[in-house]
């Protein structure tokens, strides 16, 4: 598996069966590949509940997800207008949203919609999902292309919300927000606490059980 696939499959494990899930664009979209569609209800903000995957030959160009990719219609699916779809999101009816990130900081904030110096011309549904979903899981590569950590003391990029992100999953680590700080709760296969410490710019706690294991 590629690092993206590793992250996506780990995110899938973080989801509760029979819950309502919204998947962002990028790595989050891949999470669908690791879910039993009978057991998870996928919501897409362009107006559908009950998204499934679709085979190439069955593609209907008028059934798409928020990334404008063709998707399938599950049994018991429903369609609704955009205002109703965001009413679900903002109203707290989506159990979990999985989103990508440019940066996540020590205070739990995520930046994933705008890069300083570039034009601010797109936001989509990211801000609505961040204020509305009951649980936010960020899936992201641990480091940017230049090797710098995406997990930073304070976001340099504009934050998407004041809301604290519950969980951050990278190819090296799983962090969970716990008492005002992120806590490393899992070291991904092939990584180590020391490697994670080296690649992470924000300070974090380590779950006692992991220290015992490594110790």
């Amino acid at each position: 598996m590629s690092s993206k696939e590793i992250i996506a499959s780990r995110a899938a494990e973080a989801l509760t069966p029979y819950s309502i899930i919204n998947l962002g664009i990028g790595i989050p979209t891949l999470v669908a590949n690791y879910l039993d569609k009978e057991k998870y209800y996928l919501h897409t903000e362009n107006g559908m509940l009950g998204v499934t995957s679709v085979d190439e030959e069955d593609i209907d160009p008028l059934i798409v997800n928020a990334g404008k990719q063709p998707v399938g219609e599950g049994v018991g699916a429903s369609y609704f207008d955009s205002a109703s779809s965001f009413a679900m999101i903002r109203g707290g009816h989506v159990d979990a949203a999985i989103l990508g990130a440019l940066q996540v900081d020590e205070e739990g904030h995520v930046a994933n919609w705008s890069v300083p110096g570039k034009d601010i011309i797109g936001v989509g549904g990211a801000m609505d999902l961040l204020v509305g979903a009951k649980k936010i899981i960020i899936t992201t590569n641990h480091t940017a292309k230049d090797g710098s950590s995406k997990l930073v003391p304070q976001c340099e990029y504009p934050v998407t919300s004041n809301r604290i992100v519950d969980m951050v999953i990278t190819e090296h680590a799983v962090f969970q927000w716990s008492e005002e700080k992120y806590e490393l709760i899992e070291v991904m296969s092939g990584s180590s606490i020391s490697e994670i410490e080296e690649k992470t710019a924000f300070s974090f706690k380590v779950h006692p059980s992991l220290l015992q294991k490594e110790g």
Partner: protein, 230 residues
């Protein structure tokens, strides 16, 4: 958890607690969750706040709860349909919050949609706007209304599928879909439960995301009044 439970009317006793705020669907008896209201009548809970267009009729439906002394407050648009409401109110034994019907339904929708409040022209300059914030927007006066939410919603639909998706029947729809969105726990009474895939995906007015429990209806409204199903 978004798994919708197919269950019995006992869910009302399990979920409704003293002091709760309830939403109850229906316009008069049309689209009213008769079976769930009966369970409430048999349930020992007090100090309830009820959000519903009416407080039933004298001694009927929610009107029976009033007689039982279970209601602390009613929020609605037309209490006139129950002649006893005024007496309880004047005796200081019932609080009332009267809202225009459009404001009531919009406030419920707002509660479900994560909207904290909204500005409406309705009631601006009238006695019902007294004490409310107002604001001029593009030269016109609007009144600020806060969203309404509830602990439990009791609603009625025509059919549910096994996932808990709901469709409604004609004017029995009314407040039910709005209330389904605005409560922490939603119990839907339905005439029929059908297998998944039988409802048209375009016709589902309440997606199962909003529905926590589905109960088969025991009472139905006919031309001759409310009758118990065989």
């Amino acid at each position: 958890m978004s798994l919708t439970e197919m269950t019995s009317v006992d869910i009302v006793k399990e979920r409704v607690k003293t002091g709760d705020t309830l939403m109850v669907g229906g316009f008069g008896l049309v689209g009213s969750p008769l079976t769930l209201i009966e369970a409430l009548i048999e349930h020992d809970v007090y100090q309830l706040t009820v959000i519903s267009n009416n407080v039933g009729e004298t001694g009927k439906g929610l009107g029976k709860l009033l007689q039982q002394g279970k209601l602390k407050k009613a929020i609605g648009s037309y209490f006139t349909s129950n002649r006893e409401v005024a007496g309880w109110y004047n005796a200081g034994k019932l609080e009332l919050e009267l809202l225009p019907q459009g404001t009531l339904s919009e406030a419920i929708r707002a509660g479900g949609a994560g909207i904290g409040g909204f500005y409406t022209k309705t009631a601006a300059g009238t006695d019902l706007a007294v004490g409310k914030e107002s604001k001029f927007i593009d030269g016109e006066e609007y009144v600020l209304e806060k969203a309404l939410k509830a602990d439990v919603a009791l609603i009625r639909a025509e059919k549910a599928d096994a996932k808990g998706n709901l469709v409604y029947y004609k004017t029995a729809r009314n407040f039910n879909p709005n209330m389904a969105s605005a409560a922490s726990y939603v119990i839907a009474e339905v005439d029929e439960i059908v297998p998944d895939g039988e409802l048209s995906p375009e016709e589902i007015a309440t997606p199962h995301i909003y529905v926590d429990a589905v109960v088969k209806s025991r009472y139905t409204l006919t031309k001759e009044g409310v009758v118990e199903r065989e």
